[in-house]
Point group: C2
Chain length 192, copies 2
């Protein structure tokens, strides 16, 4: 054995993620990244790899963090409807208080399928969320908490789409009340 890596990789990736999240993939330079991570580029290439590999790691970190939160917060609730309403309220809160719009969303529109490996990370996150929502919706239907005349899978897709639009709305209008009103509308729609 010999010399050990001096920097904390987790912390460094976290710092890189924050820069990518703020500036986007292309507009972030390697200098921006090494400055924020406080490591030399040789160390970066030695441990993690190139810019794209680092971005993938950042995306993984971003999505894993969020999936773990979801796992504890919405799994096996007494009332699935209450969990769904909580989910919607959380979405409003995250969208209106996070410093930037969703990292995955920005990456999706920036990359648009040009880098399959990056798309795959985002897809698996999207799929997790879709499964979670579908499960809650189906349970709520089975319990008679919401009508069962629409397919849970379609409502899940539709909810996912709405949240994407809320991010866009906030960037354009910086008006939280718009999001809140839409959320109220969605919660009403869910039950009828």
């Amino acid at each position: 054995m010999a010399r050990l890596v001096a920097f904390n990789e987790e912390q460094a990736v976290q710092k890189a993620m924050e820069v990518f999240w703020r500036k986007g993939y292309t507009a972030t330079s390697m200098r921006d990244l090494t400055d924020a991570m406080q490591i030399n580029s040789s160390s970066l290439y030695n441990t993690i790899g190139d810019k794209q590999e680092l971005f993938k790691r950042c995306l993984h970190r971003y999505t894993n963090e969020r999936m773990e939160e979801m796992e504890v917060r919405y799994k096996s609730p007494k009332s699935p409807l209450k969990a769904l309403e909580l989910y919607i309220n959380d979405a409003v809160h995250i969208i209106t208080t996070d410093p930037n719009s969703c990292l995955c969303l920005k990456a999706t529109f920036e990359i648009e399928g040009d880098v399959p490996e990056i798309q795959a990370v985002i897809n698996s996150y999207d799929h997790y969320r879709h499964r979670l929502l579908t499960h809650l919706l189906k349970s709520a239907q089975d319990l008679g908490e919401i009508p069962d005349d629409e397919k849970p899978e379609v409502i899940a897709d539709y909810l996912g789409s709405i949240f994407v639009g809320w991010y866009n709305s906030l960037v354009l209008h910086k008006d939280k009340s718009k999001i809140v009103r839409m959320a109220d509308l969605v919660k009403r729609q869910l039950k009828r």
Copy 2:
């Protein structure tokens, strides 16, 4: 007087727009642009200006084109509800057949308010669409074609948000049927 400009500015901006639309603002280089526009960079800087000015021109072209189409297609219909349903069907068609997702959307998530002049162009487009939808919704309510228990302004915001999500969904899943099913759901929701 002296020598005239040799290239067609409209055509050149159209070509530039196509490149920006495909690659995004940052990832598009001036070389990419002058190659596509088939003009020298000195001519470009002489007539239009720098990269940002050119991008603004492209955005204007993109949004004006779409607003003019809307103006003729959805204005003063016999049935506002039919116009709304047409609007939704058109959205499905555009989203699933255009070569890239919306230029404004990509720019919004890429720029995120960092360039107010660019935001302003997108905002005015968004505002035009919002006014159009609100007007149709209000008319439909007044005629009793749809229930009037939700505010037209909020439904308009909500519809706008959904369309944004559809763009995202298509990039991620490349599955038109998902969009079609959501559109059917939305059309049903409108009427109840």
